[in-house]
């Protein structure tokens, strides 16, 4: 049989679909008891989007680059939620003062708790393998 362009195309597409599916089902395999309120964290992500925090801040280095990365902002202030709330409200430099409702504030904090619990995004916290790959160090 002669291999045609559409055969290779279909084969690649199949591989891609399986790869994608393996990523989609990951949460089903992995949801263990976590230290944050899941429902609120899921809502908190929407607050993050509603006020477009991503436009100036990063999570794991991804986002806009005017402000700092906020993945581990929660533990930066040892979980002191009053400081965080004051920062949201106060604004600084190019960051406007945000007028969040009480619920939004709490959701957002729950989201930042979730990002913080997921790992340590500080680039100094990675080790380097011989093959050039990097790996996040275990949390102490």
């Amino acid at each position: 049989m002669k291999i045609k362009v559409r055969h290779i195309f279909s084969l690649l597409c199949l591989a891609f679909l399986m790869f994608s599916l393996s990523i989609y089902v990951y949460p089903l395999k992995k949801l263990k008891a976590q230290e944050f309120n899941k429902v609120s964290a899921v809502e908190g992500r929407l607050v993050w989007q509603k006020y477009n925090c991503q436009c100036c801040h990063q999570l794991y280095g991804l986002g806009g680059y005017l402000g700092p990365d906020l993945t581990n902002e929660y533990s930066k202030f040892q979980g002191n939620e009053d400081i965080l709330k004051a920062l949201f409200k106060g604004g600084m430099k190019q960051m406007p003062a945000f007028n969040l409702s009480k619920t939004e504030e709490n959701f957002l904090i729950e989201f930042l708790k979730q990002t913080d619990a997921s790992g340590n995004a500080n680039p100094r916290n990675y080790s380097i393998h011989k093959n050039g790959m990097i790996e996040q160090n275990e949390r102490k």
């Binding site: 362009v5 290779i8 195309f9 690649l12 591989a15 891609f16 790869f19 994608s20 990523i23 989609y24 990951y26 949460p27 992995k30 949801l31 899941k38 964290a41 899921v42 992500r45 929407l46 989007q49 509603k50 006020y51 477009n52 991503q54 436009c55 100036c56 990063q58 999570l59 794991y60 280095g61 991804l62 986002g63 806009g64 680059y65 005017l66 402000g67 700092p68 990365d69 430099k93 190019q94 406007p96 979730q114 990002t115 997921s118 790992g119 995004a121 500080n122 680039p123 100094r124 990675y126 380097i128 050039g132 790959m133 990097i134 790996e135 996040q136």
Partner: protein
Amino acid sequence: MKENRKNPGKQFLITALILLFCGLLAGVLSSLTYVLPDFLKESLGLSKLRPLHVSSVMFWIILGATGSVYSGLWMLSKKPISILISKIQLILWIIALVGVFYSYFTEDFGGREYWEFNPIWALPILVSWILFLVNFVLAVRKTGKWPVYVWMWLTGIIFFLFIFIENYLWIFPYFREHFVTDMTIQWKVNGSIVGALNQMLYGTAFYLMDRINKNESKIGYSKLAFGMYFLGLTNLMFNWGHHIYTLPTESYIRYVAYFISMTEWFFFVKIIYDWKKSLVEMKSNYSYFPYRFLMATDFWVFINMGQALLMSIPVINIYTHGTHVTVAHAMGTTIGINSMILFAAAFMFLIPKDEQTVQPNKLLNYSFWIVQLSLLVLFVSLDVSGILKGIWQLDPDQCSFGEMMESLRTWFIVLGISGSILMLCFFVFIIHLLKKAFSVK
């Protein structure tokens, strides 16, 4: 040749050029907010300007690619394209664009990076894209053996559709519950959507080259061309993981990306290998605008691919990730590669053949070279500020974030100035092309 006047791709290209105009303006204003913190803070602010900039230029590329594919198809296909479908498609786009801009000006956000508008406006885009696919398939269905660019166009259209839907999976709470998976899918989307657009654009570049060289049906069917197409497709599917090396995902995702990304060295070496041949070609076509822009594309592919290959090595990525090197990569490729191809296409498809040459117009000639030069300066300013931040990130006794940003000020000023010059020169081309497009009867 068919009447060019009725080519349905034209209206898409014209809309795209207008969006580029808006996007450039918003880009320059965004860069000013870096240097002047209080500039427009109360009225626009970066939280509106960045989405305005990024969405406008993304739409320039998406609509430009649509217009180019339609135009190429129009000249190629024996079966006519449905004008009705393409009209409805354009109207849906216009509705979406009005919605998106309204959404930004009223701060009705809710979407994610690059798509920050209220997700409701994604619906008309989705429907219009499905119509595009239908129209394309109807036109190429019965046209014998496809040259490589038809495959590339089809691939781009199908994958854009798939990825666009994937882009909105977060609407379902299931996908947001696991933060790391959510981020993985988000950057799977952002990485591969560019790949899908590139399929449409590289396909266009292939098609244009074929036309310029007048040896149709040769390059388009070669084994090498198909080999490169499959390599590009594999990269579209599997290399996006290099955006998330630092994310604690399953390690197979990262290794797949690392491995696949390294296959791009092949393209890189091939460019160097073809260099001499390109030079000969350049001599004979140099004064022809579509060719000029493709020549510029080659240069920028070389620069950007060199950088991208380095950034795809995780130990180097740890330095560049989360800094303006990423922006240099994003803007370097979208301007240097995607936009240059689109200008080549716009010159080919919007302007009568005898007006596509450079000679009579000094202003255009200078603008072309200033575009390249200012883009280089812009690219370097982003890279330098990024590398300096990268060094700061890994410094054990780092100063505060605010102090670090303050120390980069000079580079942000360079960014603003080079960006403004770039914008003005692009304006010259946009106005020229629009004027011509509207004056053709």
